[in-house]
């Protein structure tokens, strides 16, 4: 089994690591024996929803997780706005925007309070209801290893990139700045009685729905792009979109998009130059036939 501990030759200084790092059995034994010792001080405790792979990759670029953080906001949508109409359903679009902004603001404060310099792996939950829209953000606050200075809430970044993606991004000279989001809800106008009658027996595009979809998309994407520019970002990566008619109002089309705003912080983009690998695995799972006892 190849664990994460590198071979001595792979280390930048060519030095060997911990004497036991090559022997996972010795490590396991030492780890089990360590439980006899008393627990560290509560100040050292951290919480994180990152996987061990993500934490290791973060450590490799000098960052560490410190706290599981969140931000939630719900905004009301007045009764009646989903009834038939024309154009954008501005109450719903602005409720989404304000909920996203308030949830982001709260996760910023949570992060700063815990001493984090940013949040990675943010999971975004969107709940569009007839009378309210809710946004919940959950992620792990991270900081450069051992950083003591508490940042201000305005200076932390929030990103839905995984630990691995954050590492790759930083390695190529870029940094996440924050989450950008945009949403638009648009009425698909009614067809006239005559048009509906004419289309009854035809295979025909319902242009009112197609046009509503395009209108919603353009407004939402534009809003997301504007919020990226407001963060002084160069672009948005990992954009995720949700689109389609509302469950409770099929004549209304919703389109929402969010992603991580990034900016080049190095002098220029650094190519990662990935190495090509050709796996030679057979599709059969291999088992090392080690005797269970007395091996």
């Amino acid at each position: 089994m190849t664990g994460p501990a590198p071979l001595a030759a792979d280390r930048p200084d060519g030095s060997a690591g911990d004497a036991t790092s090559g022997d996972i059995r010795k490590e396991m034994l030492a780890a089990a024996q360590s439980l006899d010792r008393s627990a560290p001080s509560p100040a050292a405790a951290m919480t994180s929803d990152l996987s061990i792979d993500e934490e290791l990759t973060l450590h490799s670029i000098g960052w560490e997780p410190i706290e599981l953080v969140y931000g939630v906001s719900l905004h009301s949508i007045p009764m009646g706005v989903w009834n038939w109409g024309q154009g954008e359903i501005t109450h719903a679009s602005s409720a989404f925007a304000r909920s996203f902004a308030a949830a982001t603001d709260r996760i910023h404060h949570e992060c700063a309070r815990s001493g984090g310099h940013g949040v990675v792996g943010v999971h975004v939950e969107r709940n569009v209801d007839r009378h309210h829209i809710g946004i919940a953000l959950t992620g792990t606050a991270v900081r450069p290893v051992g950083a003591k200075k508490l940042p201000s809430a305005d200076s932390v970044f929030v990103s839905d990139l995984s630990g691995r993606d954050f590492t790759l991004l930083q390695g190529s000279g870029w940094m996440p700045l924050g989450l950008a989001a945009g949403a638009s809800f648009v009425y698909a106008p009614r067809r006239s009685m005559g048009t509906a009658m004419k289309q009854t027996s035809q295979n025909v595009e319902l242009t009112n729905f197609t046009e509503a979809m395009y209108a919603a998309r353009e407004s939402a994407m534009e809003r997301m792009q504007r919020s990226a520019l407001a963060l002084q970002g160069t672009g948005v990566v990992e954009v995720k979109v949700t689109e389609g008619p509302m469950e409770f109002a099929h004549h209304a089309i919703g389109f929402s998009a969010y992603g991580t705003v990034i900016r080049l912080v190095a002098g220029q983009h650094r190519n990662l130059a990935p190495r090509m690998v050709l796996p030679l695995d057979d599709p059969v799972r291999g088992v090392e036939a080690t005797a269970l006892r007395g091996a």
């Binding site: 089994m1 664990g3 994460p4 501990a5 590198p6 911990d18 996972i24 059995r25 490590e27 396991m28 780890a31 089990a32 439980l35 006899d36 627990a39 560290p40 001080s41 509560p42 100040a43 050292a44 405790a45 951290m46 919480t47 994180s48 929803d49 996987s51 061990i52 792979d53 934490e55 290791l56 450590h59 490799s60 599981l68 969140y70 939630v72 906001s73 719900l74 905004h75 009301s76 949508i77 007045p78 009764m79 602005s94 304000r98 909920s99 009378h131 309210h132 919940a136 959950t138 590492t167 390695g171 990935p274 190495r275 090509m276 690998v277 050709l278 796996p279 799972r285 291999g286 090392e288």
Partner: protein
């Protein structure tokens, strides 16, 4: 085999003494465990079926019971209230609102989970295990009875040439195989799993009810499209309580690979039951971190 605890079924004791091991590990995880010096001792399980006291009084309230008697604030914990800004409107008007923690729901969940977990530990101890890996816990309503079944299962293991646990309790982790190996190599030892639930009831004020239902009677000063502050604060509080409770379980250890799941049951007119379950691996650092060099990116040709 070690002494069998008295309340373990006789059949289980017989099965444990038969010699062959059982395991819930996949073949790759099994191979990785052997390589780490972890020998499977047996597939161990714990179950508990819980029925909450409040259920019998509020049969329509779902598997976790109702909001119980109006004892808001009397159990301590989180509580916030909102006053109606309108003065007297009618006898039906919601003149106040409150968010409050529901310790009886949390206690019932904790009792069910802990009982199932302790039974799992008991089985593993009977096998003389040092730890339990690949743990899986689930809970599901049992039939239509307002009853919740807790299931905790995993593979008990012995550390080859390792000492028995100091306090006699095996360590536990949701991880197994390569992920556990990486955790150990990164310098962390699993101590136990950590899991908790937080439950908050939203008893909506008039403003919260109007905003949640999208209504505006005309004479209220509420802003159209405003934030539903009471519910938003309850959503933040239920997450904070869960995090604080897990932190209280950690001592000075850390929580790894946490999963925070929330559930909202809308009861109408802004009233809601909120629940947050937070679980993860409690781990302890046993050696200084030995950072690996920046990973080398690869592209798979397949």
């Amino acid at each position: 085999m070690d002494d069998v605890p008295g309340d373990l079924p006789e059949a289980a004791a017989r099965r444990f003494s038969e010699g062959a091991f059982t395991s819930g590990l996949t073949v790759p995880d099994f191979a990785a465990c052997l390589q780490m010096g972890l020998e499977p001792a047996g597939y161990v399980q714990g179950f508990c079926v819980m029925k909450w006291g409040s259920w019998q009084f509020y049969p329509g309230a779902g598997p976790y019971g109702g909001y119980g008697p109006n004892v808001a604030g009397t159990h301590g914990g989180y509580s916030e209230s909102w006053q109606c800004p309108h003065g007297f409107v009618s006898a039906e008007h919601r003149v106040w609102g409150q968010n409050y923690e529901q310790p009886w729901v949390e206690d019932a969940w904790a009792n069910g989970f802990t009982s199932a977990y302790e039974r799992l530990i008991e089985e593993a101890s009977a096998l003389g295990a040092h730890g339990i890996v690949g743990l899986v816990d689930t809970s599901a309503p049992l039939g239509d009875l307002g009853v919740l079944e807790f299931r905790v299962q995993g593979t008990a293991v012995k550390v080859k040439d390792g000492p028995p646990p100091a306090d006699g309790r095996p360590w536990t982790t949701y991880l197994a195989g390569q992920r556990l190996a990486k955790l150990i190599e990164a310098g962390y030892m699993p101590v136990s799993i950590a899991a908790t639930v937080a439950s908050v009831r939203v008893w909506a004020s008039c403003i919260t009810a109007y905003l949640t239902e999208g209504t505006n009677p005309g004479w209220t000063s509420q802003a159209v499209g405003a934030e539903i502050e009471q519910t938003a604060r309850a959503q933040m509080a239920v997450r904070r309580i869960a995090r604080e409770r897990v932190r209280a379980q950690l001592g000075g250890d850390s929580l790894h690979g946490a999963s925070m799941g929330t559930r909202e049951r809308e009861l109408g007119e802004g009233d809601a039951d909120l629940e947050c379950i937070l679980r993860g691996n409690r781990v302890r650092r046993f050696k200084e971190f030995d950072p690996m060099p920046a990973p080398r990116p690869t592209v798979r040709l397949s």
